[in-house]
């Protein structure tokens, strides 16, 4: 079973701060995806990373896939209240990490 651990579990910050959340595994993944889930809704795909060492940017969000394809990070610059939500990573659509719950206060 491929397990994904996400950290931190909870993060509460002020608007304008930067943050990084992590997704780690002891297994190698051929690809990894990040989803964001807002309260009362289903998760929505943010990005898919495929190549080890790959960096993808989506506006203020920067995603990195580890060189060994066992881990990934999500960095948010100048966080906004609209970034509030549960950030989930998955390696194969069947295994999801436990998520990082982010709250950005205005």
């Amino acid at each position: 079973t491929q397990l994904l651990e996400q950290s931190p579990q909870f993060l509460s910050i002020q608007e304008g701060e930067n943050l990084t959340v992590y997704c780690n595994s002891s297994s190698v993944f051929s690809s990894l995806q990040w989803y964001r889930q807002e309260p009362g809704e289903g998760p929505v795909l943010l990005v898919t990373v495929v190549t080890g060492g790959e960096v993808k940017k989506l506006k203020r969000l920067t995603f990195q896939f580890g060189d060994a394809r066992k881990d990934s990070s999500l960095h948010i610059t100048a966080a906004q209240p609209g970034d509030t939500g549960l950030y989930l990573c998955t390696g194969n659509m069947l295994t999801f990490g436990g998520g990082t719950r982010l709250m950005v206060k205005p």
């Binding site: 996400q6 993944f29 051929s30 690809s31 990894l32 995806q33 989803y35 009362g40 809704e41 289903g42 998760p43 929505v44 795909l45 898919t48 495929v50 549960l86 989930l88 998955t90 390696g91 194969n92 659509m93 069947l94 295994t95 999801f96 990490g97 436990g98 998520g99 719950r101």
Partner: protein, 115 residues
Amino acid sequence: GAGVSQSPSNKVTEKGKDVELRCDPISGHTALYWYRQRLGQGLEFLIYFQGNSAPDKSGLPSDRFSAERTGESVSTLTIQRTQQEDSAVYLCASSLLAGGLETQYFGPGTRLLVL
């Protein structure tokens, strides 16, 4: 275009009763997934369908849980003799094909409360 829909949106039932949850995937999507999400937690995989077949049922927590898909479209998740620990949000997702590069489109979920 319609997204993934789920019904009912909320379900309150008594312990011991059976419940049936429905998922209507995006038309043409061959893969369909069911997950369980307990309050404040991540997604727990239950089962997925490729067409009408379920190659992986490993996530079903017990024999009280079953699922079927017909016509490569609608799917139902049935929980028999519900227990209080079954209380959770049940999410359905579909994707064009199965595989880690595909985008999963999630429904809004069914919130199940077992009293």
